[in-house]
């Protein structure tokens, strides 16, 4: 079982010698700048050339610190979420805080959703969040397995929501929000999409009160978890 280089670096397992010149570039600085670019201009705008330019170095210099662009993306994914929030007591508020913190991360760094995880999490940053999420259930009667499944379900929900909402908020939309209502109304006919047409007729796509979706769905999920828990008491 060989630990991949990328993980070794992330966990600080790489022995650093100290022979050569003073590094003008650090991995931290590279990753931080790459995150800035991705946050500001999107993942597509992040090229090794642009990154090097922003860092004041030549493109190839980056490869002394990063094996490939893919590895850089892994580093970025691990660093961008930062420390998970401190959770208030009570599993429901606690996990709610965790979920909203995660949502905020995805809103701040939407590109994380495009850079795929690649495997079950083994990066320290990811594990810190997972650990914090699990800690919300300290003192509850759920088994470890149930706790993990509850946290993962929450993660799925938050991630899915963020992904659907991401591009909507990025402003890439080729149709404005106002035009959307009109367009969908004209395209959706009752004979072809009966249930949807009925919903539209009830005004579900009117521009008011739409952004409660996240909280509402989360409450459903938490209600379900609570039901499981109360079956244990």
């Amino acid at each position: 079982m060989e630990i991949p280089r990328t993980l070794k670096v992330l966990w600080g397992l790489e022995e650093r010698r100290n022979r050569g010149p003073q590094p003008a570039l650090t991995l931290d600085r590279i990753v931080a700048t790459a995150i800035e670019i991705a946050d500001h201009d999107g993942l597509a705008a992040l090229s090794m050339a642009r990154l090097a330019e922003r860092l004041g170095s030549a493109p190839m210099s980056l490869y002394r610190h990063v094996a490939s662009k893919d590895e850089l993306l892994v580093f970025m994914q691990d660093a961008a979420p930062g420390e998970p929030p401190t959770l208030p007591p009570g599993w429901r508020v606690g996990l709610g805080t965790w979920a909203r913190g995660l949502q905020a991360v995805f809103h701040r760094h939407p590109w994380i959703l495009h850079a795929s995880a690649g495997r079950p999490p083994l990066e320290p940053g990811q594990l810190a969040w997972l650990d914090r999420g699990l800690s919300a259930f300290d003192g509850t009667p759920l088994t470890s397995h149930e706790r993990l499944q509850a946290v993962m379900a929450t993660l799925y929900y938050v991630r899915g929501e963020a992904q659907i909402m991401a591009v909507l908020l990025t402003g890439e939309a080729d149709v404005t929000e106002d035009a959307y209502g009109a367009l969908i109304g004209s395209l959706v006919t009752a004979d072809r999409f009966p249930a949807l047409a009925a919903a539209i007729a009830d005004g579900v796509f009117a521009p008011e009160a739409e952004d409660v979706t996240f909280e509402t769905g989360l409450s459903r999920l938490f209600d379900g978890i609570e039901l499981l828990m109360s079956a244990r008491n």
Copy 2:
């Protein structure tokens, strides 16, 4: 309010003249072949050149039928899911069938998760699925708004799960499943990740019975929806 060309094509609103030579290439054939490539070799392997080669034409010929590669991706996203499944009666089984159908789509076409939606759905394929999902609640006491939120929550959950699981199943993993348990056990220490360490000690990452996650979490969510519904009766 101008309807983007892409949507016009998808909804068949484009008037087709019929003057020139018989097209050797059709949009349908292009999209179907592109989906094949993406399914088989991943989205990264889908280049206009490779696609053209598979179609027996020159790369630039594709641009007569598709405005750009991005537009092609939208067409692919719309076509790949196919028809939504017919739902059995009863909202819970119905929505469950819908969710599992959607999960199957994501497993069959994992690249859909990477190609971003771009906006709230306006493609006929997406709307067909949304409509079918909503139809699961026919005859229930939920309001249109609540139905939409329930379906969207389910969508978020399924999509999030698929995205986390996708690359795991693609086999890109740089760490085998067996090695994973050992690795995570050695990296996660109780002082740094107490809750996670406890869970691991309880064997949550042992290789047995892990894939029930999808159904379990979905049951939690459905329980929450059911609670809302029974409050209405």
